[in-house]
Symmetry: C2
Subunit: 146 residues, 2 copies
């Protein structure tokens, strides 16, 4: 049994984040000391490590929730977990593609800049009119997320 601080040190998850995970239902409410401080057991360490690892791999919290549910039920088919991971892989690949397009555009912009004054600055010019683009980057691309 350990306090939230030790759990944080053991898993690398910050203390407020642990409390946040409890708040949103990813971690069960732990036992408490007489003084109302949280006390965690070994299972909590495991569960939190699982969450952390899934987050490191970019899974959104909802997916983590699903994966936790699956992990709690060892007799079910693994197909569901597979599907979630596969979905995440697609997400990551899509994001990589979009970022590659951005990188190309940024590099071309910078390559062509003679670095004189703003009035002849390629960076500003390219941003000002879309005509200079090679169409590499997608308009309205959803760049958000992890």
């Amino acid at each position: 049994m350990q306090t939230i601080g030790k759990l944080s040190a053991a898993t690398g998850v910050k203390v407020p984040t642990i409390r946040y995970y409890e708040q949103v239902g990813l971690l069960p409410q732990p036992a408490r000391t007489q003084g109302n401080q949280r006390l965690y057991d070994r299972r909590a360490v495991q569960r939190l490590s699982f969450i952390r690892h899934a987050r490191d791999l970019g899974f959104p919290l909802d997916a983590v929730r699903e994966l936790l549910g699956l992990a709690d039920d060892p007799d079910r088919s693994c197909a569901a977990a597979d599907a979630i991971a596969r979905r995440q892989l697609h997400e990551v690949n899509a994001r990589i593609q979009r970022l590659n397009a951005l990188r190309d555009e940024l590099e071309r912009m910078l390559r062509h800049c003679a670095c004189g004054t703003i009035s002849e600055c390629r960076v500003i010019e390219v941003l000002g009119s879309h005509a200079h683009c090679q169409g590499g980057h997608i308009e309205g691309a959803d760049l958000a997320g992890d």
Copy 2:
């Protein structure tokens, strides 16, 4: 002079987003009709297109603000704009690297899954203990942003 709807259509920026940009000071307060509706001129179209393009390239709004300031001052050195773009390029490259590591990890996870029951599921297993990782993905990687 056009209404906010036309400006939206002309630039591809949604109406609430235009109002949001005005609110945070990226767009100046436009003229108004007698009935209090916003009226935009050609310069507004240009400025908003500039913003949109920079956003498409992943620049955060603060960087867009800086770039707009530079664009307004054609006699200054282009070096500052260059630096901002270069910083953004580094950001994008870093993000690509992190995502590549994630992709590798996800792919390996999926390759090794025999797809039986959860108890032998490679996906769940890998998430449960970090021991299976090849160290490809960085712990605590900041995955957020665009």
